[in-house]
Symmetry: C2
């Protein structure tokens, strides 16, 4: 630990007091994730000696860090790093990443974006839809990385094929056959994560003023891309079996929409899945109105109830579907790796857009992941993650069933990573977020998943169980329900107060 501080430079000639410089430096190391949650800071005496400053300087810096929630002290033991939910630095443990990610464009939630929400060691994280880093298969990935460096040497760092490393594309094509999706190495495009996929498609297909249909609510990262491209959003409300196709058709016709962005299975954030009938109808509409469909395969393979949905791409006879899949949710979000299956008539545009975006995705990561699949590590890791997520899903549903409060309803998605709760009309979700955060429970307020057109009833919350440990789920939901009840009682008592 002292090693990290040895290179820290405090400048006595600057106007800023030394304690503030030290505070800033430590804060940055925490924001960054270099200092990981619950690790112990050096002793006051040790750090003062190392940096050649007064002990008071260190005490003052630590006090300020503690006041702001960056660290906590255990009497007689020392000072420890908190698990901070901060916009500035993504946290180290995978906790709070996705919520921050999705909150990034939200400026109307000051209590979130000010970085004042702190995840400490007791926090139950229902906010993040990504695995925690303790589940990352680092040891096996290290093996394949070293094998690749020995095998491919400099080739791993030359410019790569824009489409991606061929053996990886072949591997993926074989994997896709299991889901009855026909693809080949020619129509697979490797991308640096699903977000880049959406960005590349937008560059290839959208011009300023074009219209895009999205579900409502939906993944905010997609909306941000479409808006950045100057496109207009037509959002269509998503129901339990998918969007209302009459409304969708109305928009397609009226606005001559070029693109439909969908997450057909276990949608983010609602967990809803399109019925197989609606999937086929959607494809017909896309063909009739000459639109492309993005099928964002968020987590279709986490199908705990064996609902066996048909992939849009597998039914895509007229070549209208662009299939996107990221490896973040099952593997490691920071890997920045995913792929698309691209209709042949837009393949040239997609290649050009990928090329102008970043030339190609890291060759080292592609080659390592290819070997990771070929050695069988991927299949094993998928089973491992599936079992963990499945257990957490059923724990969550069970806990909700047994302690859900009056007026709160929810939908059992049968798979995925998220459960979408409907609160009673007028329920103060913002207050719930604040109150539960201070009680060490975090979740994603529903409003962050809407584009500009906010619905009248903004009373949802998204509970993700990807980052909540199995043993935390029941106590977490019980506590959350009791906070909801207390807020409802407070509302009721206000309502029942006689008007004087």
């Amino acid at each position: 630990m002292l090693e990290i501080f040895r290179t820290m430079l405090l400048d006595k000639t600057l106007a800023a007091p030394l304690y503030l410089q030290l505070y800033e430096a430590v804060k940055n190391l925490i924001d960054e994730g270099t200092l990981v949650a619950h690790s112990r800071l050096p002793s006051i005496r040790g750090l003062a000696a190392l940096l050649n400053v007064n002990q008071i300087t260190v005490v003052s810096a630590f006090k300020r860090l503690e006041h702001e929630g960056y660290v906590y002290s255990k009497p007689g033991s020392g000072t420890y790093i908190s698990n901070t939910l901060s916009l500035k630095g993504m946290t180290d443990s995978g906790g709070g990443n996705i919520i921050l990610d999705e909150l990034y464009q939200q400026d109307d939630l000051p209590f979130l974006t000010s970085g004042q929400v702190t995840l400490n060691e007791n926090t139950i994280n229902f906010a993040s839809a990504t695995p925690t880093s303790d589940l990352f298969p680092i040891d096996n990935f290290k093996v394949v990385l070293n094998d690749i460096l020995d095998r491919d040497k400099g080739n791993a760092f030359s410019y790569q094929d824009i489409r991606g490393f061929l053996p990886l594309r072949e591997c993926i094509s074989q994997m896709m056959q299991k889901g009855n999706i026909k693809s080949n190495s020619e129509n697979i495009q490797i991308i640096s994560g699903a977000q880049q996929g959406i960005d590349i498609i937008s560059k290839a297909l959208l011009n300023q003023g074009d219209y895009v249909i999205t579900e409502s609510p939906t993944y905010t990262g997609a909306i941000a891309v479409f808006k950045s491209r100057g496109a207009e959003i037509c959002d269509v409300e998503i129901n339990k079996d998918g969007p209302d196709l009459n409304v969708l058709e109305y928009n397609l016709k009226k606005y001559n929409c070029k693109l439909i962005y969908t997450i057909p299975s276990f949608q983010n954030p609602t967990g809803h899945s399109y019925s197989n009938l609606k999937r086929r109808e959607l494809l017909k509409l896309a063909e009739r109105y000459n639109a492309y469909v993005i099928e964002d395969d968020y987590v279709s393979d986490l199908d705990f109830d064996n609902r066996g949905f048909v992939s849009l791409k597998s039914e895509d006879k007229s070549n209208r579907v662009i299939f996107i899949k990221s490896f973040s949710k099952i593997f490691m979000p920071g890997l920045r790796l995913g792929f698309m299956i691209v209709p042949s008539d837009i393949h040239g545009n997609i290649l050009e857009a990928k090329h102008t975006s970043d030339i190609s995705t890291s060759g080292l990561i592609q080659r390592a992941f290819d070997l990771y699949i070929r050695t069988g590590f991927w299949d094993k890791h998928f089973s491992f993650m599936y079992d963990i997520y499945r257990e957490r899903y059923f724990k969550t549903v069970e806990a909700l069933d047994s302690c859900i409060c009056d007026g709160v309803t929810y939908f059992k998605p049968g798979g995925g990573l998220n459960i979408w709760l409907d609160m009673p009309y007028g329920f103060p979700v913002g207050s719930l977020f604040k109150l539960s955060s201070s009680n060490d429970i975090v979740f994603a307020p529903g409003r962050i998943f809407y584009s500009n057109n906010l619905p009248q009833r903004l009373n949802n919350i998204r509970l993700s169980f990807a980052s909540a440990y199995t043993e935390q789920i029941r106590p977490g939901i019980e506590k959350l329900c009791s906070i909801i009840s207390s807020l409802q009682q407070r509302q009721d008592s206000h309502r029942n107060m006689p008007i004087l």
Copy 2:
């Protein structure tokens, strides 16, 4: 080698003959770089036994590969992989990458984009402005990669700070001080290569119909981005001491240009550098007309004549310069890593654009490169590369001085990686390219560096010495000059032919 073929699946039930399937599979492995140049293919008997096919099948596949230049045979020794310049697959050895990269959007050079140009083991590559993979410091990079996996474990694969890994930003900020560029961890943005930097800036600053000033000729990857954003290009011819600032000002005024894209030192492709006076004048113009300037620091540090140019960013008092630097030219192009220094008033827009592009750059690569700098590997590798490039530069200049043909002129840039030759009016550069390629010498035809507005006299060629080995340079240039002479004589004899 056999290992690679073991997983190759030939399908006897398909209509395509087995030899064609085998030919396709091997071709793909070559295009991809999995089979590296000059490595030997398995024996015909061995491969036939492994794949359980007739030996005739293997012979037929190899013949077709040889006919198309993918492999060559050495009698009594076996069949070897050629070094193929192919658009489909970037080559394995760093040879021919950049030219392909820059040729990517060119569809009027059929002899290049058809992939018919083959680099064999004797080819002298004056086309690529990137190092060859034999110069990549793989062993040291492997050490830091392993250290990072041991040190940071899962944190290396969590979502990262959108701006980049903080310690790396701090490292870079210190490196920049050597060039008198003031920066700090707050205004440095890590990017997945310079190309992504240009793309992000365009997203942050440009809307459809906006005007951008570029040098002419310039890096084609930049032009492709601006056009993809719907911007219009005003190109200003670059002279030996930079662009004509009167013309530049005229365009700024007339078109209300928002952005000026520059490569002020050892420009790509011309090697020209702005005088320090022009640099300061340019900054004044940018301020007067409220434009931002991209300073693409291509290879300013390869300053072999110690010309000591001042960086635009170091003089940027009014915060108008966005500084971009990639590590590709000195380090490894496939690393996909670079950084920008961003003016504070557009920092929010840049962050948002980075986020919608790919959320963040690979944490593993960032952390490994940070450690690579901190352990001193980077400084040593830079010196190593500087010495190699310096030697090649002077060899190139010396050879050109002693054997340049009549009517051909060139400019000594004093640094960088490229020399720009001016051929006599009407000289057939396309024929030269074809003829010299078939004589095992490749270079980049000048026309690929122009946007739509082609100048009347398209008679330049760019010679890069980054991928040409020192001992190849003199014989290569002698041969090139003799081909130029022969083409000139042919032209002369045509001209002197009496009109009958």
